[in-house]
Amino acid sequence: MEKIYSRPKSLKQAVFHYCPGCGHSIIHRLICEVIDELNIQDKTIGVPPPGCSVFAYYYFDVDMVESAHGRGAAVATGIKRAMPEAVVFSYQGDGDLAAIGTGETLHAANRGENITAIFINNAVYGMTGGQMAPTTMIGMKTTTSPYGREGKYDGHPIRMSEIIGQVEGACYVERVAVNSPANIRKAKKAIKKAFQNQLNGLGYSLVEILSPCPTNWKMSPMDSWKWVDEVMSKNFPLGLIKDKTGKSHAD
C-alpha cells in the first residue's frame, strides 16, 4: 500500500496549542511541507513573532529565533546578511507586520532583502484577547472597537500586501486563504514559490494568508471559514498582487 499522507519531517511531533479552527496549525504544516519538498530543513532559520505563534519553535523542526514584536523583517535581514546561504523566513501576524512592524517590513521589502515573509492576517490581535488590528474591517466589533470599527474614528483596515507590492525590491506578493481545501492548496503553492524565490536569489517575497480566528471572532470554526469568503476576502481580495519573478507557477 502506498502512503500518501504523513507528518512532514520538519514538523515536530507535538500537539498544537492553537484553538480549534485556528489557521496557524494548517499554515505551520504547509510551510513544513514546503521545507521538506525543497529539502532545506538543515539550512532554514525561522523568525516567529510574539503572539499566538510565539511558540512556533515547539512545532517547526528547524532553527528558530524569536523576534521582538514587529521586528521580524529586521531580524531576518540581520540573519540573511550575516549568512546568505541560510533560508530565512519570518512568520508575522497582522499587528506585527502591518502595525508595529510596518517600517521594518516596508524597508526590508524595499531593500529587496532575499527573505520570505509569511503574513497571517486574522483581523484581530489574537493572543492579547481580540483587540482591533490594523486589518480589522469597518463595522467589525473587537474589544477595542466595541461599537464596531468606524473609519473616521478608528482608521481604516490597511491592505499591506498592496502597499508592499508597490516597492521595487519586492519580487512576489500574493494573498491566499486557508478556509477550504482548494484555498489551502493555493496557499501552499504560494508559500512554495515564496521560498523558491529566495533560493533563486530574487529578493523579498510576501505571502499574506487570511486565517480564521474562531475564538476572537466568536464563531464556530465552520462559520469562520465562511466568514473568510463572505466578508474578509471582500476587503482583502485573494490572488496575485505582484510577480516579477518571470515564473507564473511554482514547481
Binding site: 529565533v65 521582538a68 546578511r81 550575516a82
Partner: protein, 351 residues
Amino acid sequence: MTGNAAIGEAAIRAGCQCYFGYPITPQNELTEYMALNLSRRPGCTFVQAESEIAAINMVYGASVTGARAMTSSSSPGISLKQEGISYLAACQLPAVIVNMSRGGPGLGSIAASQSDYFQSTRGGGHGDYRTIVLAPSSVQELADSTHRAFNLTDKYSIPVIILGDGMLGQMMEPVEFSHDAPSVPPVRPNGLRGAKGRSSRFVRSFTSNPAELEELNWSLFRRYQQIQDEETTWESYMTDDARLIVTAFGVAARIAKGAVTHARSMGMKIGMFRPVTLWPYPKDQLRELSKNTRYFLDFEMNMGQMIDDVKLSLEGEGDVTFYGRPGGVIPTSTEVLRVITRLYYQKGLNS
C-alpha cells in the same frame, strides 16, 4: 584619525562582520567609515537601516548566527535601541553598541555631554539585566576598547556598550592598532546556522513559566558577578597621598587630569580616580581609597549621575562634593582647577 573612524578601523580588525547603523550626529563618521571600509570586504555586510530600532534588531539577527556584529548611535538613537538591547541581554547574544553621547533630554544638542551615564549603566531597556559599559577617554582608548568590547561580548555573551561623547568621537589623535584584520571574520561555534548534523535549536526570551525565567535571571546574575570579579578596570592617578580625590569618567577625566597635574605643581595634594568600566563599577577600589582620603570631588559633564555610584561605593564614608556642566558645555581644566582649589582651602586641606 577621528575617534569615530578609529572605532570603525578597530572593529574591522577585531573581525566585525556586520555593521548596522542609522545617521545621527555626532557619530556619523563611524557609520560612514563602515560604509566605505566594511561594506565591500568579503563576507561582510553594512546596512543603513531605516531606524535605530531596525538597526539593533539586525544586530540581533546577525549575532544569532554567530557573527560579530555592531551598531552605533548617539543618545536619542540609543533610547530607541534599548528595546533590542534588552532582547540581546535576555537571549545572551553578543553585540557591541557604541554611544557617542550628546546633550539631552529630548533632541538636546549635538555637543559632547555625559548625560547618558544612567541610560548606559542602569539598563535603560526593560527587565533585570546588565550590560558591560566601557568609558574610554582618548582616541587610542576608543580603538583599544573596541577590541576589548568584542572579546568581552563573546566571552560573556552579553551586550557591551562603549560610551563616548561627541568630543571623543570627533577629535583627531594619533592611534596605533594592535591587530590586523582577520582574512575571514570569526564565527561563534554556538551560532544558529541551520540544523545541519544536529537537532534544531531555538533562541527565545519568552517563557510562560515564571520559574524558568527566574532561573535565567539567576544564571545571568551569576555571570554578572563573575564579570564584576574579573573585568572591573579603573585608573588611579596620584591618589597615594591625596587629601582630595577627583572622580571622573571618559573625557571629563581627561579634563580633570590636567587640573590635578596643575594642582600638584601648585603644591596641593590632589589625586584622580577614573572608572574605566562604568559597569562593573570599581566600587571596592574606590572604597579602598576612602581609608586614606576623606574628601572627594565628583566632576561630570552632566548634573550628577555617576555620583550615585561614587556614594554607593563609599558607603557613607567620605565627604563628596559635586561639580558638573550639563547641556554640552565643555568646561576647561582651568575651571576645574578653580573648583579644586576652592574646595581644598574650604576644607582646610592646605594645613
